[in-house]
C-alpha cells in the first residue's frame, strides 16, 4: 500500500503540470509570462514537462522594462533559442522614449508605466485570455489568499473580495470576451521548494543568483549594481567591487544585492536557512507602504 508515495516535490510537480495542461485545454489563447527569475525558470521547465515529447502549445512573453540586468536578457534569449520557445518581448516604448526610468521618475512611476502598463498593453494587444505567472503564495501576505485561477475583469483588475470559490482540482475557466484569468501553477511552492527543484532537475538560472565580485554602489541602504552607464553621475565614483548575489531579479536600479559567498545552490540554500531576511526585502518597490503589493495587484500588476 505505502509503495505509492510521492515526495512533496513530486506532488507539487504533478499539481503544477495538471494546472498547466488544464489551461492549454480550456483556453483559446494562453501565454506564459516570463520574468527570467528562478521561479519563472521552474515554471517554464514544468510547462516543458507537461507537453513532452511535444512542444509547449503557447508562447512565452517577457515584459521588458528596459532596465533589466544585461545578463537577464542574454539568458532569456539563449534559453528560448535552446529550448525552442516562441518568445514574445513587449515594452512600453512610448514611456521609454519619453525617458521614464527609476532614477528620474522614482520607483512607483517607473514600475507603473514600464511594468504594469506595459503588461496590460501587451495582454490587450494579443488578446490573451489566460496568462501564467510564477507567483508563489508564500512570497507575500496578499498572495497567500489568491486563487490558483485568479479572475481578472475587463480592466485586468483583481478584486480580493470577489474571488471565485476554488475547490478540489476543478478549475472554473469560463470568462467572457475581454476578461481573463491569471494562473499561478507555483502557488503552493515555497522558496526552498524552488531551490530544491532547481538543484534536483539541473534547471538553468541566471548567473546573477550566484555570488561574484560585482560593481556595487550603495543607494539608500540598498546594494545596487552598476549594470550600465545610466547610473547617475553622482554615484559613479562610489562604485566598489563587492562579492554579492541577488535573491530576486528585476530592474537593476530597484533590485538590491546581498553580500554573499554563495556560489552554488547548496550554499544559497544554506544561506537562506540561516539568513534573517525574507526574499522580497531586496525588492525596493515593496517598501512604499504595508499594503503596497495588494494595491499593485488590484491595479493589474502580477
Amino acid at each position: 500500500m505505502s509503495d505509492y508515495k510521492l515526495s512533496h516535490l513530486q506532488e507539487l510537480e504533478a499539481e503544477s503540470i495538471y494546472i498547466i495542461r488544464e489551461v492549454a485545454a480550456e483556453f483559446e489563447n494562453p501565454v506564459m509570462l516570463y520574468s527570467i527569475g528562478k521561479d519563472s525558470s521552474v515554471m517554464v521547465r514544468l510547462a516543458e514537462k507537461a507537453f513532452a515529447p511535444g512542444k509547449v502549445p503557447f508562447p512565452l512573453m517577457h515584459i521588458d522594462s528596459k532596465w533589466k540586468f544585461k545578463e537577464m536578457i542574454q539568458f532569456r534569449d539563449e534559453y528560448a533559442k535552446k529550448y525552442g520557445w516562441n518568445l514574445i518581448v513587449e515594452s512600453n516604448m512610448e514611456a521609454f522614449r519619453a525617458g521614464v526610468g527609476p532614477f528620474t521618475h522614482g520607483s512607483k512611476v517607473h514600475t507603473d508605466l514600464m511594468k504594469t502598463q506595459a503588461l496590460l498593453n501587451a495582454l490587450n494587444k494579443y488578446k490573451f485570455d489566460a496568462a501564467f505567472g510564477g507567483a508563489r503564495r508564500d512570497e507575500e501576505k496578499s498572495r497567500a489568499k489568491e486563487r490558483i485561477f485568479s479572475f481578472r475583469d475587463k480592466f485586468q483588475q483583481w478584486d480580493p473580495k470577489n474571488q471565485r470559490p476554488e475547490l478540489w482540482d476543478i478549475y472554473n475557466t469560463r470568462v467572457h470576451k475581454g476578461e481573463s484569468i491569471r494562473v499561478f501553477p507555483l502557488s503552493n511552492w515555497t522558496e526552498l521548494d524552488i531551490w530544491q527543484y532547481i538543484r534536483l532537475e539541473n534547471i538553468p538560472i541566471v548567473p546573477l543568483y550566484f555570488a561574484k565580485e560585482r560593481p556595487i554602489v550603495e543607494i539608500d541602504g540598498n546594494l545596487i549594481m552598476a549594470d550600465d552607464d545610466r547610473l547617475p553621475e553622482k554615484y559613479r565614483d562610489q562604485i566598489r567591487m563587492r562579492k554579492v548575489r541577488f535573491r530576486t531579479l528585476g530592474c537593476w536600479p530597484l533590485t538590491g544585492a546581498v553580500e554573499s559567498d554563495a556560489d552554488t545552490i547548496e550554499k544559497i540554500v544554506e544561506e537562506m536557512m540561516t539568513t534573517t531576511k525574507s526574499e522580497r526585502t531586496t525588492r525596493v518597490i515593496d517598501f512604499d507602504q504595508d499594503s503596497s503589493m495588494e494595491q499593485k495587484k488590484r491595479e493589474g500588476y502580477f
Binding site: 500500500m1 505505502s2 505509492y4 508515495k5 510521492l6 515526495s7 512533496h8 516535490l9 506532488e11 510537480e13 504533478a14 499539481e15 495538471y18 495542461r21 492549454a24 485545454a25 514537462k49 507537461a50 507537453f51 513532452a52 515529447p53 511535444g54 512542444k55 503564495r137 501576505k141 496578499s142 497567500a144 489568499k145 480580493p160 473580495k161 474571488q163 471565485r164 470559490p165 475547490l167 478540489w168 482540482d169 476543478i170 472554473n172 469560463r174 470568462v175 467572457h176 503552493n188 515555497t190 526552498l192 521548494d193 530544491q196 538543484r199 534536483l200 547548496e266 540554500v269 544554506e270 536557512m273 540561516t274 534573517t276 531576511k277 525574507s278 526585502t281 504595508d290 499594503s291 495588494e294
Partner: protein, 482 residues
C-alpha cells in the same frame, strides 16, 4: 569557538537530501473569530522557525499600531493579509500558509469561522487531508463547532483534531477538557469521521502546540505538532479503482498520440488493458510517458501521458478505466450541493457542470431537502441561497462517468457554473445515480445540425464534425445529421 561553529554548521547536502524525501500534509483550520486560530497558526509557524527576522520587525511595528494581544506579539497580524479585513480585525477569506519540520511539509488553509463565509471553509477544506477545529475551553462545543465538523464530514476529510484552546484561562483543568471531549464525541459519532484526536492547548502560551506542556500532566497524547508530523496520510487516497480522465491529447507528430492526464485514482501499469468511456473500446497501455522517461506504473496524483497499442479516438473529458471495474455512467444523480453564489439558486437555469475534465450542461431537477448546518436538521426547500446545503437531484445533457464522492473524491466532485455570470455558483458531492428517464425528456432540446438540409457538401462534413467536437468540448451538446 571555531570548532563549535563547525559542529553546529548545517550539513546542507544532508539537509537537502532529507528535505527531498518529505511528504506533504494539507490541513484546514476552522474556528470562531475569537478562538485564537490565527494565534495558533502563528505559533506553529513561529515555533517551527519559519518566520524571518524582517517579517518579525514588520510585525512588531504593526502590533504596536493595531494589535489585539496585549503585551504578546499578535500572530494574527502576520496572517491576515488583506487591508480591508485588517481594519475589521477578522480573517475573511482562505489564506494558505506553508511551513515544514524535519519530517513533513505542511500547507495550511486558514479559513474563517463566522457564519456568512461557510463557502470559504468549504473552499479551504476541499484539498485537506486533515482539519483542526478550534474551540475555546471556556465556551466548549458551540454551534459553530458543530457546523465546522459537519462541513468537514461532508468534504470527506479523514482526520480531525479538536483543539481545545485557551486552557490557560480555565487553569488547565482536566475536568473542563474531559467535558468538552465527551460533548464533542457524542455529537460527532453519527458523522462517521474516521480519526478524531482531542488536544488541550494554549496557543497564546504555547502549551501542547509544539512541545508537550508541564501544565497538563494529565494529558497523555501528543502535542499538536507531533500529531501533525506523524499522522499517516498515504492511505487516504483511492488506489483501488483506476480512473483516468483524459485532460489533453498530445499529437506532436503522426507517430505519437498521447493521452495526458492525472491519475485520479487507482494504479495503472504498462501493458494493462484499459477501456475508453463512453466508446467502450479497449486497448492496452503501450507506454507511460513522462518528460523524465518512461515509467512502469502510475498512481494518484501523478500527471502522466499514456499511449495505447491501438488507435482509438479519445478526447478530453472522456475516461480510461480498467474494463472490469467501471464507474457509473449516467446523466442523473443525487448529490449534496453547497450554494456558493450571492445569487440564489434559479431552478430554471441550465448551468455548466464541470466534473473531472468533463464539462456539460446541467439542470437541478429537484431539492430533496436542505440541511440546517447548525443542527443538521432536514427541511423541505424550493431553492438554496448562499451558504446553504441541500440534497439535490441533478441531470446533465451529456453522460458523465462518476463514483460516489465517499468512495472517490476525484470522480465524485463537481462544480456548477452560472452560464451568465460565469461564477462558480455551487459545488457538489455525488451520492448515487438516479434513473434518468426523467432527465432524458428534459434535455431533448439539443441543437441539431442537419448538414444536407443546410446545403453543406459531403466533402466538408469532416471539417464541420471537427468544429462541433471543439464546441462540445466546451460544454455545448450538438447533434449532427448527415
Amino acid at each position: 569557538m571555531a570548532n563549535e561553529n563547525n559542529n553546529t554548521k548545517l550539513d546542507i547536502k544532508a539537509f537537502l537530501d532529507k528535505d527531498e524525501q518529505k511528504d506533504l500534509l494539507r490541513f484546514l483550520t476552522a474556528g470562531s473569530v475569537d478562538d485564537g486560530k490565527s494565534t495558533l497558526i502563528g505559533r506553529l509557524l513561529f515555533d517551527s522557525k519559519k518566520l524571518y527576522e524582517d517579517q518579525l520587525v514588520a510585525l512588531e511595528r504593526d502590533s504596536k499600531r493595531m494589535g489585539n494581544a496585549g503585551e504578546h506579539i499578535d500572530y494574527a497580524l502576520l496572517l491576515d493579509g488583506l487591508k480591508a479585513e485588517r481594519e475589521q480585525g477578522i480573517t475573511i477569506d482562505v489564506a494558505y500558509r506553508y511551513f515544514s519540520t524535519n519530517n513533513r511539509k505542511f500547507i495550511i488553509a486558514d479559513t474563517p469561522g463566522h457564519e456568512q463565509y461557510t463557502r470559504n471553509m468549504i473552499t479551504g477544506g476541499s484539498t485537506a487531508n486533515l482539519a483542526i477545529i478550534l474551540v475555546d475551553a471556556r465556551a466548549g462545543v458551540i454551534t459553530q463547532t458543530r457546523r465546522h465538523t459537519y462541513l468537514v464530514s461532508l468534504l470527506g476529510i479523514h482526520h480531525v483534531v479538536l483543539a481545545v484552546n485557551k486552557m490557560d484561562l480555565v487553569n488547565y483543568d482536566k475536568a473542563v477538557f474531559d467535558k468538552i471531549v465527551a460533548d464533542y464525541k457524542a455529537f460527532v459519532a453519527p458523522l462517521g469521521i474516521e480519526d478524531i484526536t482531542c488536544i488541550p492547548l494554549s496557543a497564546l502560551e504555547g502549551d501542547n502546540v509544539v512541545e508537550k506542556s508541564d501544565r497538563t500532566p494529565w494529558y497523555e497524547g501528543p502535542s499538536l505538532l507531533d500529531f501533525l508530523e506523524t499522522v499517516p496520510i498515504d492511505r487516504d487516497r483511492n488506489y483501488e479503482n483506476f480512473r483516468y480522465p483524459v485532460q489533453y491529447v498530445l499529437r506532436p507528430n503522426q507517430d505519437f498520440r498521447g493521452f495526458c492526464g492525472k491519475v485520479a485514482s487507482g494504479v495503472i501499469h504498462k501493458g494493462d488493458t484499459v477501456m475508453a468511456l463512453p466508446s467502450r473500446k479497449t486497448s492496452r497501455v503501450q507506454r507511460i510517458v513522462t518528460y523524465d522517461g518512461e515509467i512502469e506504473e502510475a498512481f494518484p496524483p501523478m500527471s502522466v501521458t499514456l499511449t495505447l497499442e491501438d488507435e482509438i479516438d479519445i478526447s478530453r473529458g472522456e475516461m480510461l478505466v480498467h474494463p472490469e471495474d467501471l464507474p457509473t455512467e449516467g446523466r442523473c444523480f443525487e448529490a449534496m450541493l453547497v450554494w456558493m453564489d450571492e445569487e440564489a439558486m434559479d431552478r430554471d437555469k441550465h448551468f455548466y457542470l464541470k466534473q473531472t475534465t468533463n464539462t456539460t450542461r446541467a439542470h437541478i431537477d429537484g431539492i430533496r431537502y436542505k440541511v440546517n448546518v447548525n443542527t443538521m436538521e432536514q427541511s423541505p426547500a424550493d431553492k438554496l441561497i448562499l451558504n446553504e446545503i441541500g440534497k439535490v437531484v441533478i441531470s446533465t445533457s451529456k453522460e458523465l462517468f462518476f463514483d460516489p464522492y465517499a468512495a472517490n473524491k476525484q470522480t465524485g466532485a463537481f462544480i456548477l457554473i452560472d452560464p451568465i455570470t460565469n461564477n462558480t455558483s455551487a459545488v457538489g458531492m455525488i451520492l448515487n445515480p438516479v434513473d434518468d428517464n426523467r432527465a432524458a425528456s428534459e434535455f431533448e432540446s439539443v441543437i441539431t445540425l442537419n448538414l444536407p438540409e443546410l446545403g453543406i457538401a459531403p466533402e466538408h462534413y469532416e471539417a464541420v464534425e471537427k468544429a462541433c467536437k471543439e464546441i462540445e468540448r466546451r460544454g455545448v451538446e450538438l447533434r449532427i445529421i448527415k
